[in-house]
Amino acid sequence: MSKSFLSIENLTQRYPDGQGGELTVFENASFTVEEGEFVCILGHSGCGKSTIMNILAGLAEPTSGAVIMDGQEVSGPSLDRGVVFQNYSLLPWLSTLANVTFGVAARHPKWSRAEVREHSLKYLEMVGLKGDVVHRKPSQLSGGMRQRVSIARAFANHPKLLLLDEPFGALDALTRGTIQDELLKIWRGSNQTVFMITHDIDEAILLADRILLMTNGPYARVAESVEITIPRPRNRTAIVEHPNYYAIRNHLVQFLGIRSRELAGQPADGGMQRPARVHIDLTAEGEAEEAEPEPSGARTPPALRAVNI
């Protein structure tokens, strides 16, 4: 297991709850991410997704536990881990372009001004920002445009690990689709690893190799790791035709709707909390058990082979 590109081991985060007690957001959370993998994490608001991401980014220290990337323990932020923050985090006194060149110049200190500018403009254009817009301040942009600047800033730096906190939340469906496609293109053309938080189940299925499911907090758990057994390249419209699509989707909906609540609030009792691996594949004959068309709210629908490792 220690050979994984990214290994999260017994991560625990507690905060003072403001009334003299302690709030345990998650306890002994453990999972791995392989190099080049695209992983999405789904969970209800407040369960601790951003907290996990900040720890992965090296911006926050967990109460206990470790994050190991490339065999090295993460002990602080690094240019190898690019972040798109949930609230964009653009620098409001810089123009749109300068917000991106800021990052590119940090990544490539030896580049000339012109090179930095050209590279930045390329990525801004990729997210659909060109012309006058790039000279405007973030406060003069719409929410979706700001989010795109933040995406351009992170993508332009080609980090080994891209950490995306609801990067497409403020975008309209059309722009969202375009940028999802761009993200996939960038990701496919490199061996970057992507760890992305989202609330959108369909987006997660379209993009991810694997979806991590979190239960509600406190004592949230990364309870399941669902493989997306739909071959790439995936196409937004064609993907729904795939036999596995609804089976996976139903499983996710059912988890978020019912089980995320039922599984909440259980302390770890000292054990390592690894997600159960869920492999749903209706195409592989014989191997897959029958799919239950409408999961009835049972704890583990019989159609799924949930394998604990």
């Binding site: 980014a57 090296g58 911006l59 602080g76 932020p77 690094s78 240019l79 881990r81 690019g82 972040v83 923050f85 609230n87 985090s89 620098l91 409001p92 006194w93 810089l94 800021f102 990052g103 940090a106 990544r107 301040k137 406060s139």
Partner: protein, 277 residues
């Protein structure tokens, strides 16, 4: 009336108020008798000497015209043009102010960044800040032994606090998200300070600088009255001793105008560093 913009209407009203005010002032002052009309008795009792009565605005305007048409003449220690006097005051204010900025802004940065430094220095700041800057004057004169430098020291000590406190406050209040952006881009502490924290805190810092320059200009007048020699404060005091109230009123107006210009300059700077979130 409806066709004028808000600004135009306000300007018009200002002019009306000015004219009415000056007219009332002018009319409320009884004309002084010319020397030729004085009786023997009046001449003997000193009634002919210019009474310390308030001069009418027409006289002040005439004085202003006279002074401003030749502001830089220098006819000995007690007779210098208004331009030279104001020049001295501005020189002292800027010298003391710049020294204060050089101390306050880096120190404020330190205090803003480090909770330990904040707590350690806070008691000193709290005790020193409420001291009237002029209260330092005797000590300064005794230690520095130089009236010029003492005036500058007083400016230094009065302008330091707003800059120090605002810098510390601004730096401490920089959004964590922005610092995190610097951290994820592996910027060093110095680079972070200059490219993220300084621009983020600049509006608050410049507000402190603006407050400081205002206070410094208030204090220099009083300080120069005490130390004497040159400067607009000394000029006011000197003209008062000469019972030349016209000059006193004229210089009061000049103090106001220069103060306004200094403030406007910092207002400009404030606009330059402002940003909308």
């Amino acid at each position: 009336m409806d066709k004028l913009s808000l600004n135009q209407r306000a300007a018009l009203l200002s002019i009306v108020m000015l004219v009415v005010g000056l007219l009332v002032w002018e009319l409320s002052i009884p004309a002084q008798k010319a020397v030729g009309e004085l009786t023997e008795y009046e001449r003997l009792t000193g009634g002919g000497a210019p009474k310390a009565g308030v001069p009418p605005p027409s006289q002040v305007l005439a004085k202003a015209w006279e002074q401003l048409s030749n502001p830089f003449y220098d006819a000995g220690p007690n007779d210098k043009g208004i331009g030279i006097q104001i020049g001295y005051s501005i020189y002292r204010v800027l010298t003391g102010y710049l020294m204060a900025a050089l101390v306050a802004i880096p120190l404020g940065f330190l205090i803003g960044m480090s909770p330990v430094a904040y707590r350690a220095l806070n008691p000193f700041i709290q005790v020193l800040r409420p001291i009237s800057p002029l209260a330092w004057m005797p000590l300064a004169l005794f230690i520095i032994q130089d009236s010029e430098a003492s005036a500058i020291f007083v400016i230094f000590i009065c302008s330091i606090w707003p800059m120090l406190i605002n810098t510390a406050f601004g730096v401490a209040g920089v959004r964590k998200d922005w610092v995190n952006v610097a951290r994820t881009h592996e910027l060093g502490p110095l680079k972070t300070a200059f490219t993220v924290i300084l621009p983020a805190a600049a509006p608050t810092i410049v507000t402190g600088m603006r407050i400081s320059i205002g206070i410094a200009w208030l204090v220099i007048v009083a300080a120069e009255m005490l130390v004497g020699g040159t400067g607009i404060g000394y000029y006011v005091w000197n003209e008062w001793n000469n019972l030349d109230l016209t000059s006193v009123i004229f210089s009061i107006l000049m103090i106001g105008v220069v103060g306004m210009l200094l403030d406007a300059a910092f207002g400009q700077l404030q606009r330059a560093v402002a940003y909308a979130e």
